[in-house]
Every structure is written in structure tokens, then in C-alpha cells.
Amino acid sequence: MNGLEKVPTGIRGLDQVTHGGLPKGRTALVCGGPGTGKTLLGLEFLVRGAELYNEPGVCVAFEETVQELTTNMASLGHNLNSLVKARKLAIDYVEIERKQIEETGEYNLDGLFVRLKQAIDAVKARRVLLDTAELLFLGLKNEAIVRSELRRLFHWLKDAGVTAMMTAESGEKSLTRHGLEEYVADCVIVLDHRVTEQISTRRLRVVKYRGSSHGTNEYPFLMESDGIAVMPITSAGLSHGASTETISSGVAGLDEMLGRQGFFRGSSILITGTAGTGKSSFGASFASASCGRGERALYFSFEESPHQILRNMSSVGLELSRWINKGLLKIHSSRPTTAGLEAHLAQMYKDVEDFQPDVVVIDPITNLIAVGDQGSVKGMLTRLIDFLKMKNITALFTNLIFGDEMEERAIGISSLMDGWLVLRDLPNGAERIRTLNLLKCRGMSHDMRMHSFTLGEKGITINGNFQTIGAVKA
């Protein structure tokens, strides 16, 4: 192990990416363009420190007033006022208005040092945020003095034994506009906010971490009503265990087709079908059965609102609201187009981390595919599946297909899945018959034949082997 001591930030995901947190007693640099979330990340570092690790913090704000910071943090669910009252946080707004300042002769920034020291002493701070000290360059004319004083400041912070974070605006040629990375070279984090096809994704990357290993990828991060979360999404590889425990699919007839057992726990199941073939009903049956066993189910809906799902499912005999009331089921609805693929993935990670479900239903993944290209969708699904498998979560994905394209569309993703159930809606004389077909189920002997099923008040009923099909499309 290396000898570098680290301070956990307490920001979800960031400590994983940095393999433990920020370098203790040093200053880390957070840079990014305007609106990338530098200030909020910095404040969250202080808030989490105060709340989780009993490490009070000081924020020296050069840009925004205490009132503005408080309002902004309220949107992330943090109450700065109460931390200030509890003497776990001190905020000093430093205003440098160049217009009212004339300079003549020698000076130093002891005024700033005095204020910082006073604030640190007042709350016995262990953490410091300087947001954004480079405004000193705008406020003061003598750049040479500012530079040497900043250098002194970083040494001073080190001597004070506080772990600090400093934000800085991105520069065109260098990481930061004023080359602050020159002074703070231990840990540099870059934030980015990109918009591709009108869809924005926030990303975080650790570009430098002296004396420590760290994740080098760009990781999406979220600013939510309960704080910031960085999503250390990497392919976990194939090291996850394989359970032999089985859990019910929620449909008795389907369990029977699976040798009376159901799915392996921790496996990933794909259900494909054209519109109206009952994919969601299978998903909901699966979720409901899990809740019936007292397990937790998380249902991601990219098509319907929770109310729609509750209403529609009650028509097939599934009263999902009782599970919601018991806290066993959570339905998370969102439009795929509200965010990019990465952001959706990040959101799902976070919801899974928060809710800790035993089973997950994603209904449908089709809409997500619409937001990304084939390659990135497959990449994303791989990561999602790995993530769920690592947590031994059984996942059921539905996928909408259109008429003749049939499996072709699903082929790319079906290889990632352990089981594949195909639903069809076949004309049979004057009516249409619902059929299902287990195309694959890894590690399990299963009934490969086509079965017909009905959707009724008692849920999904599988009517046994359906042999006399006249008009199966290839």
C-alpha cells in the first residue's frame, strides 16, 4: 500500500473513484467550465464532512454570497444554515470589487489569511473550500503578488493540517485559466457538462492524483435533491458469483416451463415482444411475486407513469399499490429523452444503491436504445447487468420490437442476457392468440415449446403447449 493518507469526501461514488478520498492535509483542485457544479461539489465536500465524519468545514466564497450558496445547496437537500448554527460550518464571503480598489506599492494577502484562520478557529475546521480563489486575479492588479500569495496560502493550509478543495475555472490552454494546477499538484479533478443532441450529461474525471491510484475514466455524476452522486460505472467483468438459488417468475405456468423453479437469482432476463403482447404484465407479475416473498422490487418505467402502471396492472389482478405502501416496491418513471444514456444509467445505479432491491424490472429498455447508438447502448447494458449481478439482483428487461424485425433488434443485447422470453401475438382465425416462447435460459433445462397464454383478472395464465400454429412469421 502507499503511505498517502486520505480523507473520505463522503460524496457518493467519489471516494470509490479516488480510491479512498482526497489527499489528507493537502489541497485538491476541482476545475471545470461555468455551470459544471464545482461549487456544489466543494460545498458537498464540506457538508458531508460535517455530517458524516464530524469534520467541520470552512468555505471561503469569492463568487457567491452566503445567501446564494445557501439557496443553491437547498436544492441539493442540504441546509447550510443549520450547519452554521451548529458551528459545523463557517462561510466567509470575500468580495473583491476592483472598481473600488486602488493599488499602490507593496502589499500581501494577510487579510485573507486572517479571515481564513479566524473561520477555521471558530468551528475547529478540518476541511476548507476556496471557491474560486482565482477571482483574486480579477480583483487585484499585481499578478506577481497574487501568485506568490497563493503559493503561500497552499503552504499555510498544509501547515494548518486541513484538507482543502479549491475550485477553478477551466482554461483554454491549461487546465485552469490562471494555471493554478501549478501550485496544487496533488489531486486534480475535472468536471464537465456536455450536451449531445440536446441531452446533457455531467461528468467527472480525476486527471491527476499524485501518489495514488485512481479511476481514470470519465464518470457521470448527478446533482439530485439529496446531493451529488458520482457513478463509478465500470465494467465489473465476469467475476461475479453464480447463484443456484431460483426465484419465481411470478407466473406459475412460466415457472413450470422453467422446470418448476423460476429464474436463477442474480440472472438477467430479457422479454421481447411487439406492442401489447403483455411484456409489462410479466414484469409486474415478477415484481409483485418478489414483494409477496417480502423482497424489495424496483421498477423502472420508461413509458408509463406509476399511476398508469398501477391502474393497468390492477386489470390483470395485480394490486401493486399494497407493495408500494409496504415500502417493498418502488416505481421510478422517467422519459428516456430527459437525459442521456449515461445519465440514465447513473440514475439507475443511484436508485439501486438507495433502494437496495432484490429484483429490478426495466420496462422497456427499447426507449433507452433510442437515446444512444448501438455501441453505447450495449456498453451501458453490459455495465448495468454487471452491476446488478454483482449485487445478486435478478433483473428483468423488456424490449419492444416491431413486427418483422423481430429478434434482429434484440440480438445485440440478448447475448448479454441469461434468459430470453419471446412474446408474440398471432392471428388465429378471427382472433389473436398470445404466445410465449422461452428461447433461452442458461444453465437450466427448460421447455422450448411455444405456449399460449391469456391475460385476465387472475393474472397471466399459461395454457400449455400450443402446437397448432398456422401462421407463424419467420
Binding site: 473583491i96 480598489i101 499602490t104 506599492g105 500581501n108 494577510d110 487579510g111 486572517v114 479571515r115
Partner: protein
């Protein structure tokens, strides 16, 4: 000499008001037009601090004789006061009165700049 300076000494009342601190801003402006309330913030009695004070004293005697008060605040002794006047650099001279508040940072070695900064001489300088 500077015209702005000419108008200043027309009222010679309240010459020695240096002990009044904090509340001066609320005094009616018409009564205090002739009063210059200056604060010099320093951090310890360093050579720069002392130089700044001497430069200021000399300049005031020359241009504001009898009309000014200087309060020297050592932030090492009274750190809490740094926030109120938004002090970052030291030495900082704050002209609290007449309003608007003006700040001049540095050792005040360039008299011309200080006079301009205090509005005792128009920018651009006549010399």
C-alpha cells in the same frame, strides 16, 4: 491645486471625531462633509504597515489638515473586523467618509495614486 480639495475645508466643524467608530455611516451627510474618516488595516506592525501609516499621515497632514481621523486596525488583534470592511490585502486604507467607501491597498508609497484613490485629485493627475 485640486479643486475637489478646495471645497472640502469650507466646514471646519467636528474636526476631532476619530473616537466615533461604527456609527459614523449613519450620521447625516451634510454635517460630516468636512470629516474624513480613514481606517488603515494592517496585520502586525511590519515594516510595510509602518511605512503605510507614515505615508498616510504625511499625506493627510498636507491635504486634509485638521479634517481627518485615522484609525489603525491590527487584524492580528481584531481578526473579526476584517469581514466588515471586506479586507483581503494588507495594508488596506478604507475611506469610510466621505461616502462612497473607497479602498486603497498597498504601502501608499505612490502619493499621486493615493490622492486619486481618495478623490483628492482627479484621475489622470495634474502635476
Amino acid at each position: 491645486m485640486a479643486t475637489s480639495k478646495r471645497s472640502a475645508p469650507s466646514r471646519r466643524s467636528n474636526t476631532n471625531n476619530g473616537t466615533r467608530e461604527g456609527i459614523s455611516a449613519s450620521l447625516p451627510r451634510r454635517r460630516t462633509k468636512a470629516l474624513w474618516e480613514l481606517r488603515l488595516y494592517v496585520a502586525g506592525m511590519t515594516p510595510t504597515s509602518i511605512r503605510a501609516f507614515e505615508n498616510l499621515k504625511k499625506l493627510c497632514e498636507e491635504h486634509l489638515h485638521g479634517l481627518y481621523s485615522i484609525q489603525v486596525i491590527d487584524l492580528l488583534e481584531r481578526p473579526m473586523l476584517a469581514r466588515g470592511d471586506q479586507i483581503v490585502a494588507v495594508p488596506t486604507l478604507v475611506r469610510r467618509l466621505p461616502t462612497p467607501v473607497k479602498k486603497i491597498i498597498g504601502d501608499l508609497s505612490n502619493t499621486e495614486r493615493v490622492l486619486v484613490g481618495l478623490d483628492l485629485r482627479p484621475a489622470g493627475g495634474w502635476h
